[in-house]
């Protein structure tokens, strides 16, 4: 298993689209701070900009995971390297687990680049600042922690789509449609069906913005921990089952 994880990590480090995604996210983070500098620098602090940036990070996180799933997982079918991996003498379950672990790790790191750039650059330009409603440091750790947790959950969903579709284009298309349109669609469906609204409110998609609120109830904290973990486990297991039965061409 360690061998497989090491190999996947090596692949991720050498993955050109991953490097580009990291660079793009970093650039967006820097540009975001520089635009604030141009507009109004008198009334801002790193933390106030960080709070504003979290809304954008939600979309960025989802997009980055969709693109990475396509170029880190699906592309292995296209270039035939999945064949070498599958015939290496390890069970499909282990191969998939190693891949998802590294993919999740890569996605989590990617999702932290934008907020961390904001905080680091914002602190240099405007000072760290504080928040009236909650301790700034606590808020920072909490939101970053939950970002990682939700990124892990979204990663297993994207990984499942990637191994099922085995095609870069299809993976990007389907996962982006799912990740970006599930929220507006769910709001409409939720208005029609109360049971669906309840389901949506308690799944990772509905809960994603909850940790970004200044105040979280203990129920919210519980749900925001359990929902991503359960999603990770359930979609991870489904992914293993799908990959075990998949013909590799």
């Amino acid at each position: 298993m360690n061998n497989l994880i090491l190999a996947e990590w090596y692949k991720l480090r050498k993955n050109m689209p991953y490097r580009v995604l990291c660079l793009v996210t970093l650039s967006i983070g820097i540009l975001y701070e520089l635009f604030q500098l141009r507009s109004d620098a008198s009334n801002v602090s790193s933390m106030s900009l960080f709070v504003k940036a979290l809304g954008g990070n939600e979309i960025l996180t989802k997009l980055a995971i969709c693109v990475l799933a396509a170029f880190f997982i699906s592309s292995e079918y296209a270039n035939g390297t999945m064949k070498s991996t599958a015939s290496i003498g390890c069970s499909r379950g282990r191969i998939y687990t190693a891949k998802v672990i590294v993919f999740t790790l890569g996605a989590a790191l990617l999702c932290l680049i934008f907020p961390l750039t904001d905080v680091a650059l914002g602190s240099l330009l405007y000072g760290f600042g504080h928040l009236a409603q909650v301790s700034a440091v606590e808020y920072l750790y909490r939101t970053l922690g939950f970002t990682v947790l939700f990124a892990a959950a979204f990663s297993t969903i994207a990984a499942l789509i990637a191994v099922s579709l085995t095609d870069n284009g299809k993976t990007i298309g389907v996962s982006i449609i799912l990740f970006l349109f599930i929220d507006p669609l769910s709001k409409k469906l939720g208005a029609e069906f109360p049971w669906y609204q309840h389901l949506y409110n308690n799944c990772v998609f509905g809960l994603f913005s909850v940790p970004y609120e200044f105040r979280m109830s203990s129920h919210d904290v519980f749900m925001c921990i359990m929902a991503p973990i359960l999603t990770f486990v359930v979609f991870g297991v489904i992914g293993i089952l799908v990959f075990q039965r998949k013909e590799i061409r």
Partner: protein
């Protein structure tokens, strides 16, 4: 008793209503170079894919290094190297980096094996060139180098000479022969260049429309692809008598066209022609001939009638 590295027992694979493999009983003896022959779509790659764990059979079992349970077969695959269909490479990585991924996956200790293995396939000087810029032949060589990492005991190569230039084909043949003779590596190789297999294989398996038509050793094949003298004379009856009485052999046959196939004296054509001329026969055609693997293969799959 012959030890087998790979055995398939009644192995079948169906895609919807199409039968791709039909109860195949293939046996690859340890230490052999097993040439797997078949037309495109005959089922060669499908069988290799099942052995390497890329596909699953509809029915039947495989035995790899004598192991037949699923978990044991997975473990046994660690003793195997393979390249199936097109070479699977990361296009944005160099040859060394592709090898490194493979080394890490196989858990081969130390990086020294990478330049050594690259040198074996003649890719020691490719430097930092990305594999997307490689020719098909270079990709093929790299795929073989990756299969060789970790010194496997059993090598499965699906059309490995595809895209290689003539010198590359010769080098590949020499390499495979060396691996087989010096390291005792068992090799299962499929190729549509039958003359190539003819120079390499110690065993053959002929597959047609999913059925294993025949398995034979190179010695058996040689016997079946017998050399003979092709003789055409003005009077085949008199010639037959002359051959029987003066050359003391009845190892010949007279075809309905009047052509005589003489299976003896292939290396003494002068002696035969002297006898025929001395018997007052007029020789119209006289040449040594022999059935090649191609024609034998064609006859086994029903392409050309085997006389």
């Amino acid at each position: 008793m012959t030890e087998y590295v790979l055995k398939t027992i009644q192995l079948s694979e169906h895609y919807k209503s199409r039968i791709v493999l039909d109860k195949v009983d293939l046996a690859v003896p340890k230490g052999s170079i097993y040439g797997f022959i078949g037309l495109n779509g005959a089922g060669k790659s499908t069988l290799m894919r099942i052995v390497t764990g890329l596909s699953f059979p509809t029915s039947g079992t495989i035995e790899l290094f004598g192991k037949s349970s699923e978990s044991e077969i997975i473990q046994a695959r660690k003793r195997m190297g393979s390249t199936i269909e097109s070479p699977g490479l990361f296009p944005n990585m160099t040859a060394y980096e592709n090898m490194e991924v493979c080394r890490l996956q196989k858990g081969v200790p130390g990086k020294d094996c990478i330049p050594k293995t690259l040198a074996i396939v003649g890719l020691q000087d490719v430097g930092n060139k990305k594999t997307r810029n490689f020719s098909l032949g270079m990709k093929q060589r790299l795929a073989i180098a990756m299969a060789l990492l970790g010194d496997p005991e059993f090598l499965i190569l699906d059309e490995p000479t595809n895209g290689l230039d003539p010198m590359g084909v010769v080098e590949m043949r020499d390499l495979l022969r060396r691996l087989n003779r010096e390291l005792g590596m068992t090799i299962l190789i499929s190729s549509h260049i039958l003359s190539e297999l003819n120079l390499l294989a110690t065993h053959y398996g002929i597959i047609h429309r999913g059925r294993l038509v025949e398995q034979l050793t190179s010695t058996e094949l040689e016997e079946k692809c017998q050399q003979y003298l092709h003789i055409k004379v003005d009077n085949p009856e008199r010639a037959s008598v002359a051959i029987e009485q003066q050359l003391h052999t009845n190892e010949f046959e007279v075809l309905p066209t009047g052509v005589i196939k003489l299976f003896k004296y292939v290396k003494e054509p002068g002696k035969v022609s002297s006898v025929l001329v001395a018997s007052g026969l007029q020789i119209e055609a006289f040449m040594p001939m022999g059935e090649e693997l191609e024609s034998y293969f064609a006859s086994r799959i029903g392409g050309v009638k085997h006389e």
